[in-house]
């Protein structure tokens, strides 16, 4: 079977697949098959930069043979900016699926593919989830080439390497692995490429496909990667020795390996004065513990260890709980569940409705519940504080994991007070300590780095004093400034 026939057979029953014959240099004798996927390509570009050149007898000159014509076209007769020679059916299919048109020279057993992608795509805009006041405003879009361009605009060095591969037996999704040559530990790159090549799935359409298959995220709710909408954040991590991964169709960049302390750093940390950034960082760490532990501590103290409360506070809590029919445990667990429901509803609804639901939930339902003595105001405050502090955690995935653990810790506190809380806390720390991403321990450098590592995790040092890249990433070059 000829190359064109095998490609057309592959795309049979595809309504968007277009195939036709064109005459080389206008000669009916020399008919060639030409095909593309409608919608992925720009018709105008095909006409102007491919068909017009190939069919123009004057430009083509005397026709000798198909082989000579092929060489002429490759040599610049076609004005298109890319032209690739393909011999394998699979390569031609990949090119067509990625916005190329193909011209088959069946006698030669070759095809030429011209990149004529359609311009219909979402333009670069501000990030939705990682807004900053100071800093770049360009966020990733769904087109991988635009995303690589955004990165390249910020790191113009040829040391920025971009390796591409296809993942998904059916989706054939293009995945780009980005790293800095001479800086990033090559083991990371090799390991990611190995995992990508070994992934046999139908399609890499959703973020979870990457997170669970490639980043080994399935065994823990805690994210072993950083995902970002912001090109500048990806670039700063690349310069720190991380590997970046871009996936066609996802307006996200993934950063690997990622540790817990790294996930607590906000993109704005490097936009603020180091003292301000350090103070905010300490606040974020405090928020992490508050969001995780506050409801559980409240339940433990209010149901088992009342002697820990100052008398006046205890009297105020008792006063506020008068006539509330539910136990403290039911109140807290119920309110936590209600908080999650309201948040989920707010996310799923369109923006204006989502805001309205949040306001109604937070203000009207909360206040009404308190006035109706269904819940006590202290529980509303505890759950609200825990919820709000959860939003200060920079990573949404980490925030979601913390919310999940919050339920577990609260349930443990209901069961056995501080004993339960302590045991569940120990199990949580054990779990975190057992995690690793590309061989980098999830909690590093905290377990072995001592006080200096803890300070580095919690604070943002002045850039002049921050001369070395993080050791746990094992970069080939540790100094980041001379």
């Amino acid at each position: 079977m000829s190359l064109s026939a095998s490609v057309e057979a592959a795309f049979s029953d595809c309504a968007d697949f277009e195939a036709r014959c064109i005459y080389l240099a206008g000669e009916k004798r020399h008919s060639l098959r030409f095909c593309f996927l409608d919608g992925l390509v720009s018709g105008a570009d095909i006409g102007r930069f491919v068909l017009m050149q190939i069919g123009d007898r004057e430009r083509f000159g005397a026709f000798v043979s198909e082989k000579a014509a092929l060489e002429k076209i490759c040599g610049g007769l076609a004005a298109n900016y890319t032209v690739r020679r393909r011999e394998k059916t699979e390569d031609v299919i990949n090119d067509i699926a990625n916005g190329c048109c193909a011209l088959f020279f069946d006698h030669e057993g070759e095809a030429l593919t011209f990149e004529v992608k359609s311009d219909v795509r979402r333009q670069v805009s501000e990030p939705l989830g990682e807004k900053v006041v100071k800093g770049a405003k360009d966020a990733f879009v769904e087109t991988i080439r635009m995303n690589t361009a955004l990165v390249r605009k910020k790191i113009r060095s040829p040391a920025l390497k971009i390796e591409e591969t296809y993942v998904g037996e059916r989706s054939r999704t293009k995945v780009a692995v980005l790293f800095i040559d001479g800086l990033t530990n090559p083991e990371y790159r090799q390991e990611i490429l190995r995992r990508l090549s070994e992934t046999r799935i139908d399609g890499m359409i959703s973020p979870a496909a990457f997170e669970e298959y490639i980043a080994n995220g399935a065994k823990s709710p805690f994210p072993l990667y950083i995902n970002t909408e912001r090109a500048d954040r990806l670039c700063s991590h690349l310069l720190a020795g991380h590997v970046g991964v871009l996936i066609d169709g996802l307006p996200l960049g993934y950063i690997l390996p990622a540790t817990l302390p790294q996930q607590m750093h906000s993109p704005e940390d490097r936009a603020e004065h180091f003292i301000t950034a350090s103070a905010l960082s300490v606040l974020r760490w405090a928020s992490l513990f508050i969001t995780l532990l506050l409801p559980a501590i409240y339940v433990a103290v209010a149901t088992y260890h009342q002697e820990m409360l100052p008398t006046k506070l205890m009297m105020a809590i008792i006063q506020s709980k008068q006539n509330v029919p539910f136990s403290t445990a039911s109140e807290v667990l119920g309110m936590l569940a209600a908080f999650e429901l309201l948040q989920e509803a707010g996310l799923r609804l369109p923006q204006p409705s989502g805001d309205t639901v949040s306001i109604i939930g937070a203000l009207i339902v909360g206040q009404s519940a308190v006035e109706a003595k269904v819940v006590s105001p202290v529980v509303v405050i505890v759950v609200a504080v825990a919820g709000v502090t959860g939003y200060t955690v920079p990573s949404q995935d980490l925030g979601a994991a913390l919310r999940l653990c919050r339920f577990a810790l609260t349930a443990a506190a209901v069961a056995a007070g501080f004993f339960g809380l302590m045991i569940t806390g120990v199990l949580l720390v054990m779990h975190l300590a057992s995690l690793e991403c590309l061989g980098t321990p999830y909690l590093s450098p905290l377990p072995h780095g001592g006080a200096a590592a803890a300070l580095r995790a919690a604070l943002r040092f002045p850039l002049r004093a921050d001369k070395y890249r993080e050791a746990e990433l094992r970069p080939l070059d540790r100094r980041n400034q001379k």
Partner: protein, 387 residues
């Protein structure tokens, strides 16, 4: 699998925590608790009567419970039958002891404090002079306040006025265990309702109760209590009214004080000790013609203050020595100065303390007069007249 096994093992180990579900259920919803804040204990050696009062909480009325039994714990447990809520003693702020109970035996209280985990060592303790703890706990305080609040106000005023230092149960227990003696602040139930509807009922300070051998040995009067405050180093502030020697009076604010004990060993035995009192004061109010810029007049005021303080200190020391025990902790301070030589008298220190020759010396000065009139009037070329 290993991790799951470990997790299950840990959870199983959690069940072994002693006391989690033993006896009483530890799970108590906070609103189910009846918070006792004042505890009164009376006893005659045979029966213990415990009275308990909650604090003032919003509009709800103060609840007072009373029960008698052979032991304190028995009386407290019996109270549970009077209310549907769980009676909770961990937030008891004040423990009152009736005078008769104090005269009988206080070691049973000590025993109770040591064993009962719910009662805090930080709970204040008072002895009700000339009365029972029940009188104090069941005091009708009107609608706007409660016994606990009044006792909190009393503690603050006693501290600021130098009437007495309020010791805690833990401090008292420690002192009794270490020295077999302790000081406990005393109070009296005062006021009888000046007119109908008025809430003038309350408590007044009544010096210190001196506990020796587990029994009430003596009470100090108010002046001696001031002296004990000074000797024990708890005097933060005090206002002393003194005569200026010319028919006028001055109110002096004590701003700082320190007492040090200097031992004098002769041939290895403690021959005598010096009690050095250092006190600083300022003029609070002047009803006198004294010239505050005159050193003579100021030293006259200081001498008057010294007379008052000497009477207090020496009176307090005499009371303690007559009671036969070192209530003021002088031995501990002497031991810290010279532990080796003190070891010779440590064994029988209480007896030594009672008979040890003491020499008192005073360093008293008035540091500030706060006078603003004279400098203004003496301003060059100007005359300021006060209307």
């Amino acid at each position: 699998m290993k991790k799951v096994s470990l997790a299950l093992l840990l959870l199983a180990a959690a069940l072994l925590f002693s006391g989690c579900r033993q006896g009483r259920d530890n799970y108590r919803d906070i609103e189910r608790l009846e918070l006792i804040q004042t505890l009164g204990i009376d006893g005659d050696g045979e029966t213990v009567t415990v009275s308990a009062a909650t604090g003032k909480r919003g509009d709800s009325a103060v609840i007072v419970l009373k029960n008698s039994a052979r032991t304190i714990a028995g009386a407290l447990d019996g109270m549970q039958t009077f209310t549907e809520k769980d009676i909770y003693f961990s937030h008891v702020a004040v423990c009152l002891l009736g005078q008769k109970a104090a005269e009988t035996d206080l070691y049973y209280l000590l025993d109770f404090i040591e064993r009962e985990v719910s009662v805090r060592y930080g709970t204040y303790i008072y002895i009700v002079r000339n009365g029972t703890a029940e009188d104090a706990v069941t005091l009708d305080t009107g609608e706007n306040t409660c016994v606990t609040d009044l006792l909190a106000a009393l503690e603050k005023s006693m501290r600021l006025l130098g009437d007495a230092h309020t010791y805690t149960l833990g401090e008292t227990a420690q002192a009794m265990l270490e020295n077999d003696c302790a000081l406990v602040a005393a109070l009296e139930v005062s006021g009888t309702g000046v007119e109908e509807g008025a809430n003038e009922l309350g408590f007044s300070p009544a010096g210190y109760a001196l506990i020796k051998g587990g029994r009430l040995a003596a009470f100090s009067d108010r002046e001696q209590a001031h002296g004990i405050m000074l000797l024990t180093g708890y005097l933060q502030s005090d206002t002393v009214e003194v005569s200026d020697g010319r028919g006028g009076a001055a109110s002096l604010q004590v701003t700082g004080s320190r007492v040090s004990f200097v031992p004098h060993y002769e041939d290895g035995r403690l021959g005598r000790a010096e009690v050095k009192v250092k006190l600083r004061a300022s003029i609070d109010e002047l009803h006198s013609e004294l010239d505050v810029y005159s050193p003579e007049d100021i030293s006259r005021l200081a001498e008057s203050l010294q007379e008052v303080e000497a009477e207090r200190v020496e009176g307090a020391m005499a009371l303690c020595r007559s009671a036969g025990a070192d209530f003021i902790g002088m031995g501990k301070k002497l031991e810290m100065r010279d532990p080796v030589r003190f070891s010779a008298v440590k064994e029988n220190w209480n007896e030594t303390f009672s008979s040890l020759p003491l020499e008192f010396s005073y360093d008293i000065a008035i540091e500030r007069t706060y006078n603003i009139t004279s400098p203004l009037e003496s301003g060059a070329g100007e005359t300021h007249e006060r209307g």
